[in-house]
């Protein structure tokens, strides 16, 4: 195993993984835990992952699957938190982040994952279906339902405008 190669790969992917993880988890601590657990799984089998056709896609899929299935464990020193770590006003879109986190937080895990894959990562319905083990119809149904709930939170001005998305 080449630790340096992994470090280089993980460093390049970590921020993107963290952004998705934050939207999935809704807070800094859980997002960090999810990213670290994902990287841990990848690191533990790096000699396989590094030779995969698309290691970046592999690690991204692993993160979402870990989140959806809950198959990760917090260490004894890590506690789940519903609070944001960032102080109000510290970040440019802090309020937006809070609102979005609240809206997404009401969704089932799989629906949250579907929305983040579709709208943050711009994955196709087919790709989301493959990565989450759902049918394409199920992805569309879940997205439609989840969007309706998010719309309730974000207000009437909330729209979806991009491409084929529901």
């Amino acid at each position: 195993m080449d630790d340096h190669d992994f470090e280089e790969f993980a460093s390049a992917r970590a921020r993107e993984l963290y952004r998705a993880a934050w939207l999935l988890c809704g807070n800094q601590w859980a997002a960090e835990d999810l990213v670290q657990e994902t990287l841990a799984r990848v690191f533990s089998r790096w000699h396989h992952v590094s030779t995969a056709e698309n290691p970046a896609a592999y690690v991204q899929t692993m993160l979402f699957r870990l989140f959806v299935t809950g198959r990760r464990r917090l260490s004894s020193t890590e506690l789940p938190s519903a609070e944001l770590a960032e102080a109000p006003g510290r970040t440019r879109d802090h309020d937006l982040r809070l609102t979005l986190a609240a809206a997404l937080g009401e969704l089932p895990r799989t629906d949250r994952a579907v929305l983040v894959m579709r709208y943050l990562l711009d994955h196709t319905v087919a790709a989301v279906a493959t990565e989450l083990g759902l049918t394409e119809h199920a992805v569309r149904s879940r997205a439609t339902r989840a969007l309706a709930r998010v719309r309730d939170h974000l207000g009437a001005d909330f729209i979806v405008t991009t491409g084929e998305r529901p």
């Binding site: 960090e32 994902t38 089998r45 199920a138």
Partner: protein, 263 residues
């Protein structure tokens, strides 16, 4: 006007995680995982020499912060169970903390367990070694409260949270959780839904893998979701295969989730 893609982009654009810390933490955990896997592999080899028809193990339920020393446990039974009345106990979250009896139809060795009642799920994985000499494989069982398609759809319908034409779809799913599901899916006499299927495990989006997963999922009317998976390898991802077919087939896993008992 707000577009969800733009909102997500804006909301996360200025997130600035400590990348070095994330990577270092991942590597530390990864080394632990590697060590655990090696130990488990060694234990599995030892266990195979003392194989019995079934196994009786205590799986920590981690009610208090994943503490293995907690007395509350998930007993893994040594005898098959076919208690139809077990379903009567399903519709409570307390059931998760009380324990779960799972019967492995072949010699097995506990490899890992995780989750807690507080977090809404408990799970464990085993190295299962059939006596036919065809090789060991991993079996994992997850028991979670809610978050299943059945429960989600039923709740959405009940709460009236559907809109924009989604109600009809939700009603359809609530009436039949198997509507969009691949594989064989049937409604059982107690109102539960059972889905079984076998499929290659995707290496990544669109990728191929020689690892095959047999799956059985059970959704109960009370919102519990049991998910049992068996592989022809000691993991779900990109590890060497140990046999040509999953160590348990979908039918065996279906029996396993149906006969699992609450403690």
């Amino acid at each position: 006007m707000n577009d969800l893609a733009q909102l997500m982009e804006r909301a996360t654009d200025d997130l600035d995680p400590d990348v070095a810390e994330l990577v270092a933490g991942g590597m530390v955990r990864g080394r632990r995982l590697r060590t655990r896997r090696r130990v488990a592999t060694g234990l599995g080899a030892l266990g195979a020499t003392a194989a019995v028809a079934a196994t009786a193990l205590l799986v920590p339920s981690f009610v208090d912060g994943d503490s293995p020393s907690n007395d509350r446990s998930l007993p893994i039974a040594s005898q098959p169970h076919h208690d139809a009345t077990a379903q009567d106990q399903l519709p409570t979250r307390d059931a998760l903390s009380g324990g779960r009896v799972v019967t492995m139809p072949a010699p097995s060795q506990l490899v890992d367990s995780w989750g807690s009642a507080d977090r809404g799920f408990v799970a464990a994985s085993w190295r299962v070694t059939p006596t036919d000499g065809s090789g060991a494989g991993q079996v994992s069982v997850l028991v979670e409260y809610a978050d299943s398609r059945f429960h989600d759809a039923a709740s959405a319908l009940k709460d009236g949270t559907s809109s924009d034409g989604a109600a009809a779809k939700e009603a359809k799913v609530a009436a039949d959780p198997c509507a969009d599901a691949p594989g064989q899916c049937t409604k059982l006499a107690d109102g539960s839904w059972l889905r079984t299927f076998t499929a290659p495990e995707p290496l990544s989006g669109g990728g191929d893998s020689s690892i095959i997963g047999a799956h059985a999922e059970l959704w109960t009317p009370g919102g519990l979701h049991l998910d049992a998976t068996a592989y022809n390898a000691m993991g779900e991802k990109d590890t060497a295969t140990t046999r040509t077919t999953p160590v348990l087939d979908a039918e065996q896993l279906g029996a396993l989730v149906q006969t699992a008992q609450l403690g």
